[in-house]
């Protein structure tokens, strides 16, 4: 009864257009009333969910991303990628993917990746005669690299939701290979379509230009070294690394590039707190919602159902992936990580999957969800930056979805892709 109320209130409020974070909290509130529990538990769970020390990394990553976008780091990364791979057919598409990989190494989120690189790359590609649908397709799907390649605040959320048994350093290390693999497959799709549409290529600017572009990009790329190096060496905690990374990005844009205006700084701060609030309220509400899922023993139910349907590991993993893809179409990543991890992690563990590898599957799968309708933050941002209609983008995005899906299958069924690197460092 209580579970029915929880789920149906959530579904009804969501379908009627109330923001998801509030749907989760309202559903939890109704469940508390039905159960005769003190309703204030819902609000206590919200605050408690938002009070994890490692969550503090989120505003820092977001702020650093905003600074890099407005302060010129993103632009210099794109230039560097352009001198490197601009000369292949459809060069700017490939440049776009490579920039996402580089930017992914300093930003923790796919949305930041889309907005930062989209605002630099999409106008650039338009000027060179690329169609907007293609530019948005590439920008949006390659932004998943921001989640896969460390640092990644979504991996922090996953480590939290997994109950402390998974170390953030292992997750960060594990993301590198699947992230690069995904980008390579995506590059193939990008190239293939560029050839079919006869997109241009650039002239190779010479090694000297490559060298100078690299030098210009280096201080920005050092942000990655500061954040990831800090976490992996253990010199800083994750949260401290994120804060130091933000301070570094601030210093680079002010002192080295000298390209940060006071207004851009203020915009970075106010936009960062908005994004932080959006993510954090989702995290809090999802925690309240998950409390009731635990109370109704939903994880046990799912585990029982899954093992009853099939004892074939490959089939169960496929089912989980399909379930996550469907959920990812409708809900935001942060909330889904917190709700789905306690539900699916016991199942995949039962089938012998390493929690670190499952983390990678979850990241890529839900990352794909960010680029799909009807709810896809990256898709929305990408279309908004390019000022094109979502429908026109969706008509031609299929090859890119297929590329990510292929990478997802490889990540799901080949553990070595995720686990080799973290085991090497153990």
């Amino acid at each position: 009864m209580g579970l029915t109320i929880l789920l149906s209130v959530f579904a009804i409020t969501m379908l009627s257009g109330i923001p998801i974070a509030f749907c989760l909290a309202i559903a939890a509130f109704c469940a508390a009333m039905i159960e005769g529990l003190p309703e204030l538990i819902v609000f206590q769970r919200m605050v408690s969910g938002m009070s994890g020390f490692t969550l503090l990394a989120i505003p820092f990553f977001v702020f650093a991303g905003e600074l890099m976008m407005r302060g010129g780091i993103a632009m210099r990364l794109v230039r560097f990628a352009e001198t490197l791979v601009g000369q292949v057919r459809g060069g700017l598409g490939v440049v776009n993917v490579l920039s996402s990989m580089l930017f992914g190494g300093i930003s923790g989120s796919a949305v930041a990746d889309t907005s930062a690189l989209g605002s630099v790359m999409i106008p650039m590609m338009r000027e060179q005669g690329y169609d907007d649908d293609y530019s948005v397709n590439v920008t949006v799907t390659s932004s998943i690299a921001g989640i896969m390649i460390p640092p990644s605040h979504n991996m922090i959320l996953y480590a939290l939701a997994a109950g402390g048994g998974v170390s953030i350093s292992s997750l960060f290390l594990a993301g590198i290979v699947p992230g690069i693999m995904m980008c390579l497959i995506l590059t193939l799709a990008t190239y293939w379509i560029a050839v079919r549409r006869h997109y241009p290529s650039q002239k190779f600017p010479g090694w000297q230009a490559v060298f100078f572009a690299a030098v210009y990009a280096l201080p920005g790329l050092m942000t990655a070294v500061v954040i990831i190096g800090g976490v992996l060496s253990g010199i800083f905690t994750v949260t401290e690394s994120a804060a130091i990374g933000a301070i570094w990005a601030l210093l680079v844009t002010i002192c080295v590039y000298r390209s940060l205006t006071w207004q851009a700084f203020l915009q970075s701060v106010t936009q960062a707190i908005r994004t932080t609030a959006l993510v954090m309220i989702l995290v809090g509400a999802a925690t309240a919602f998950a409390y009731f899922l635990a109370l109704y023993q939903v994880p046990d139910m799912i585990l029982g159902a899954m093992t009853a349907i099939s004892d074939n590991k490959y089939f169960v993993l496929l089912m989980i992936n399909v379930a996550l893809l469907v959920l990812g179409m409708f809900m935001d990543m942060a909330a889904l990580i917190l709700i789905c991890t306690p539900i699916f992690l016991p199942v995949v563990r039962e089938f012998g999957m390493d929690p670190v590898q499952f983390g990678m599957v979850l990241m890529m799968n839900l990352g794909l969800g960010l680029t799909t309708p009807p709810v896809g933050a990256c898709l929305f941002v990408g279309c908004a930056v390019a000022k094109v209609r979502i429908e026109s983008v969706l008509k031609t995005i299929w090859p890119f979805y297929l590329a990510i899906f292929l990478a997802l299958l490889l990540t799901t069924y080949v553990p070595a892709i995720s686990l080799t690197l973290p085991r090497l460092f153990e």
């Binding site: 206590q44 905690t237 109370l295």
Partner: protein
């Protein structure tokens, strides 16, 4: 009635097994009138949240460590002060006697009835540098829990208290963010900390009991007979928990010793105890606390 129980540990932990045993005994002996169900692994929230939920009536029973109860029930502070108990057996004798009853009375003020006392072992210091005496602690960066008493204790012993989230302690020791930490045998072993901090100084600074508590409103609703059954089951579960805990400790100790770590047993802790004067001056000022401390010392 269905009773909802909270527990922070994973299902096969001594506390968890004992709480499940409690549920079984009660359901059986009340012939299903009272059915306790424990949610393990902090599924219903972290310890601080669970304490609040207990006060507000969201939980029926739980096993809490006394440290997070310090600010809420000052009487519990006496049991969490450094070197308050002489040994684990001493702690059991104290808590099963009058002191346990007195603290239980104070807990009723915050809507909890104490039914029995569990064991959480004795915490001692470990570090990645030789650790043989008080002098070795000087200047060491020691990870502590988020507690005022623990910070004051480490500083009084000459160390540099560093609060770090529990999950990050391993890499922090490995990379030198901190030089060491403090915990009991099972945690020292199961977290792998013994592999990066190979010197363990058995000063047993804190031996903190855990309380098996039931929500007072829930308790008052039970009939007199059921209350007797519930209390008896809690006490039996505590006996089981202490036995399982001791086994678990012995197992962990063997693993650590077999790994070749340096284990130093302290013959004489008087210099450690003497160094605690500022801590006691600061935290044992409350009349209730100092009275309970006297009673603890009086128990042989």
């Amino acid at each position: 009635a269905e009773l909802r129980g909270w527990n922070t540990h994973v299902p096969d932990y001594p506390v968890s097994v004992a709480m499940d045993k409690f549920g079984e005994l009660v359901a059986q002996r009340t012939e299903g009138r009272v059915k306790p169900k424990t949610y393990h692994s902090a599924q219903l929230g972290e310890q601080d949240d669970a304490i609040e939920q207990m006060q507000f009536g969201g939980l029926d029973f739980a096993v809490f460590n006394l440290v997070p109860l310090n600010n809420l029930v000052p009487a519990t502070q006496a049991t969490t002060l450094p070197y308050a108990f002489k040994s684990i057996d001493h702690m059991h004798r104290v808590m099963d006697g009058n002191v346990g009853e007195v603290i239980g009375k104070h807990m009723e003020d915050v809507n909890m009835v104490a039914l029995a006392w569990y064991d959480s072992g004795a915490r001692s210091f470990y570090a990645n540098k030789p650790l043989k005496s008080l002098a070795d602690l000087k200047g060491l960066k020691i990870r502590v829990q988020n507690s005022d008493v623990n910070v004051a204790m480490v500083e009084a012993l000459g160390g540099n208290a560093t609060p770090i989230p529990f999950g990050e302690v391993f890499t922090s020791i490995q990379s030198g963010v901190v030089d060491g930490a403090e915990n009991n045998w099972p945690s020292y072993e199961s977290t792998g900390h013994f592999e990066v901090a190979r010197h363990y100084l058995l000063d047993q600074h804190t031996i903190v009991p855990e309380v098996f508590a039931i929500n007072k409103t829930t308790w008052d609703k039970l009939s007199g007979d059921d209350q007797k059954i519930v209390r008896q089951a809690a006490i039996e579960s505590a006996t089981l928990q202490r036995k399982l805990w001791a086994e678990r400790e012995a197992k962990s100790e063997k693993i650590v010793r077999d790994a070749g770590n340096t284990i130093v047993e302290l013959e004489d802790k008087s210099d450690f105890i003497a160094a605690m004067k500022p801590v006691y001056d600061k935290f044992a000022t409350n009349a209730v606390v100092s009275d309970i401390l006297k009673q603890i010392q009086a128990v042989k």
